[in-house]
């Protein structure tokens, strides 16, 4: 039974990783948001399974929090923003998707190597997944670096938050509740501020292309 359940956590972890790669190569803004919501769902699934096995009740609450925030509320807000900004059907030109994929694979290998010495200490059922969490974190960084539009950068930022949350579940039995609530509040306020920003950027530059934001450079 336990083996099966720990396989289930691994399955969710694998889904997260695949979704991280999918986001890296996705050009359509609206699909990107769908992928993000799906990734949130994978985190919720993994957290619920861990909660069920370990009888840690606060993990149910944090799974619920993630479900509300990352699967419903934030994607909903993002949909509204892209609707109002009229970038719903935007397609970003991404260069060198194959190169990005190869760099991504390199990052995954790196992440597994870094977490190898720590993962064996983890006493949770999900010990193998710390490497995946770190890999997802690094893939989200990569996504933020390579994207030139504001919305995909924000989605990258949020995917990073998902990866961190997943790391907390897989390395320990989740962070203390008060910390988790604080983090959720920060994420929510952050996304609201980002929304305000996108409108300001649009108003000022008449586009959401971050490449306009490259004036401040050292001479």
């Amino acid at each position: 039974m336990n083996a099966l359940i720990s396989q289930l956590v691994n399955l969710f972890a694998a889904v997260m990783l695949i979704l991280a790669f999918a986001m890296l190569s996705q050009r359509r803004v609206i699909t990107l948001i769908h992928l993000f919501a799906m990734q949130g769902l994978a985190v919720v699934g993994a957290t619920t399974v861990v909660a069920y096995v370990t009888h840690q009740h606060h993990l149910y609450y944090s799974a619920l929090l993630t479900l509300v925030l990352k699967v419903f509320l934030i994607p909903f807000l993002l949909h509204r923003v892209i609707d109002r900004l009229n970038v719903k059907w935007d397609i970003e030109t991404l260069f060198n998707i194959p190169t990005q994929m190869i760099v991504g694979i390199g990052l995954v290998i790196f992440a597994f190597n870094v977490s190898l010495p720590i993962a064996r200490f983890s006493e949770t059922i999900s010990r193998g997944t710390l490497g995946i969490a770190l890999a997802c974190l690094l893939l989200s960084f990569l996504m933020m670096i390579t994207r030139a539009k504001a919305v995909p950068q924000v989605v990258g930022f949020l995917a990073m938050e998902n990866a961190l949350f997943f790391a907390a579940t897989s390395a320990t039995y989740g962070m203390p509740m008060v910390v988790e609530l604080g983090i959720a509040l920060d994420v929510l306020v952050g996304i609201l501020i980002m929304g305000v920003f996108m409108f300001q950027i649009r108003e000022q530059f008449e586009s959401l292309d971050i490449r306009h934001l490259e004036k401040l450079k050292e001479d």
Partner: protein, 484 residues
């Protein structure tokens, strides 16, 4: 009422009150009143701690010990003087049409919330809350950096948001690893992130996990300290936001971030011995000092120049704490204090000067001594102080850092001296014509607030000549706490 509560409840309340009335003309004074209230609470807290030693509040969630009490007092003090400075400064900005009533409301309210987040970060015992408060400090200031809505300020704010967001995410990963290490030693769940509990068992924490955790924590919080190579957000955010915000970012927020690194360093040292964390901090610190000195010499914008000077000084402090030992830690803490006093004084003077000249480009600012002798002297003395001229306090701390470096890390001394020399030539060469050159600038409509400038410089001078015994006692206790 417990002063430990008051110290962050007052600014929290102030944030809400000013969110309601921040656009009215009297909001400037309300802002000062709340900041004074915070300072009074901080003074009361300090007196209590001096009399009764470390204390806890709210089920150990908050605590105060020799390391954070002096930073709380400093934060509350600079918070008040900056609020006083911002009264005439923001009035001029309003007259120029750069600030609308709506933006003033945002500014005042966020100013108080920003103080609140910093004070929570300083007083919390829970490393998770520390992270939450650091992130919240970014969130409260990011809208202030872009408050003028110019293309450059939007760019700076976006960069600030994204880079600090990425940085702080690494710190959260580090915190998670730390929690993981702690859970193996401290069984009862939520107490395992309390710093005091961790410090009690630090020798038993797993060294492998702690080493990886500290790398992430240093990179993460180091982004907010402004350590090279993760410093890119700092000069932009300092240059494009309103000057009072540059003053508190430089004088306070960087200190709070360094404080977070120090708390983590104590735990890492316990598990791994002082070499690991110390060497990392030495490396990043030295790199920041040297790189910032060379960037500094190429700036044309006065606020950018002093922003790079902040990177240089934060690097110097990181270097000092990296060396460790009672003298270097003492010097690092002293440098934290005098740097935040002097640097905010400089930003006050620079703020008035740029308003006079209507430009932040140094070539446009000339002859301050004729237009407004006090601002001119404030800028000149401030620059001399920050460059480490005796008898100011920066000289004392830099002297201690350098002499300790000669003993403990002799290889690093030439680099430090070179960097300090380059910075001196660059800053002095720029400031001299700004103060003494020929000019046709006109005086300002609202008289500048000079009390904060000279109060800070006076305190910086006093710390160079004479450190009161209870203060030096305090530094020594704090230095011992971080492993002196």
């Amino acid at each position: 009422m417990d002063p430990l509560f008051l110290v962050f409840v007052v600014p929290l309340l102030g944030g809400f009150v000013l969110a309601a009335c921040g656009h009215r003309p009297y909001a400037r004074d309300v802002n000062v009143v709340f900041s004074s209230g915070t300072l009074l609470a901080a003074v009361w807290l300090t007196v209590r701690v001096v009399a009764g030693g470390p204390m806890f509040a709210l089920d150990q969630l908050f605590f105060i010990d020799p390391l954070n009490v002096f930073l709380v007092a400093l934060t509350a003090f600079v918070g008040l003087t900056t609020a006083i400075f911002s009264r005439p400064y923001m009035r001029v900005e309003e007259d120029k049409g750069k600030m609308t009533p709506k933006r003033m409301r945002l500014y005042h309210s966020m100013y108080q919330f920003f103080s609140f987040t910093m004070l929570v970060a300083l007083t919390t015992n829970n490393l998770g809350i520390l992270w939450v408060a650091m992130e919240a400090a970014t969130l409260t200031t990011v809208l202030l950096v872009s408050v003028y809505r110019t293309p450059a300020s939007l760019e700076a704010a976006w960069k600030y948001f994204i880079l600090c967001g990425v940085g702080i995410a690494q710190a959260l990963f580090g915190t998670i690893l730390l929690y993981m290490a702690a859970e193996r030693v401290i069984p009862q769940g939520s107490d395992a992130l309390l710093w005091t509990n961790l410090a009690a068992v630090k020798a038993h924490l797993d060294p492998t996990i702690l080493s990886i955790a500290f790398v992430f924590l240093l990179l993460g919080y180091g982004t907010k300290v402004g350590l090279v190579p993760v410093h890119n957000w700092l000069p932009d955010a300092h240059a494009e936001g309103p000057t009072p915000i540059s003053a508190v970012l430089s004088g306070l927020l960087l200190n709070v971030a360094l404080y977070a690194v120090l708390r983590c360093k104590v735990l890492t040292d316990g598990a791994l011995g002082p070499a690991f964390a110390g060497n990392l901090m030495l490396g990043f610190g030295l790199l920041s000092v040297v790189a910032a000195a060379f960037f500094l010499s190429r700036q044309r914008d006065v606020k950018r120049m002093f922003a790079y000077s902040s990177i240089e000084h934060m690097g110097l402090m990181t270097f000092a704490f990296g060396m460790g030992g009672p003298v270097a830690n003492f010097a690092g803490l002293l440098h934290m204090t005098v740097h935040s006093l002097i640097k905010s004084a400089i930003f006050f003077a620079v703020g008035h000067a740029t308003q006079k000249a209507g430009s932040q480009i140094m070539d446009d600012i000339r002859g301050l001594i004729k237009v407004s002798p006090t601002v001119g002297w404030g800028l000149m003395l401030g620059s001399l102080a920050i460059l480490g001229m005796p008898p100011f306090g920066v000289f004392a701390s830099e002297f201690l850092i350098l002499t300790t470096a000669m003993r403990q890390e002799p290889w690093a001394t030439p680099f430090l001296l070179l960097a300090l020399g380059v910075a001196f030539a660059a800053v002095f060469g720029r400031v001299q014509p700004m103060v003494f050159g020929a000019t046709e600038l006109k005086p300002l409509a609202h008289p500048p607030a000079l009390l904060p400038v000279f109060l800070h410089l006076g305190l910086g001078l006093m710390l160079g000549l004479y450190i009161p015994p209870y203060l030096s006692d305090w530094y020594q206790q704090a230095a011992r706490l971080i492993g002196g």
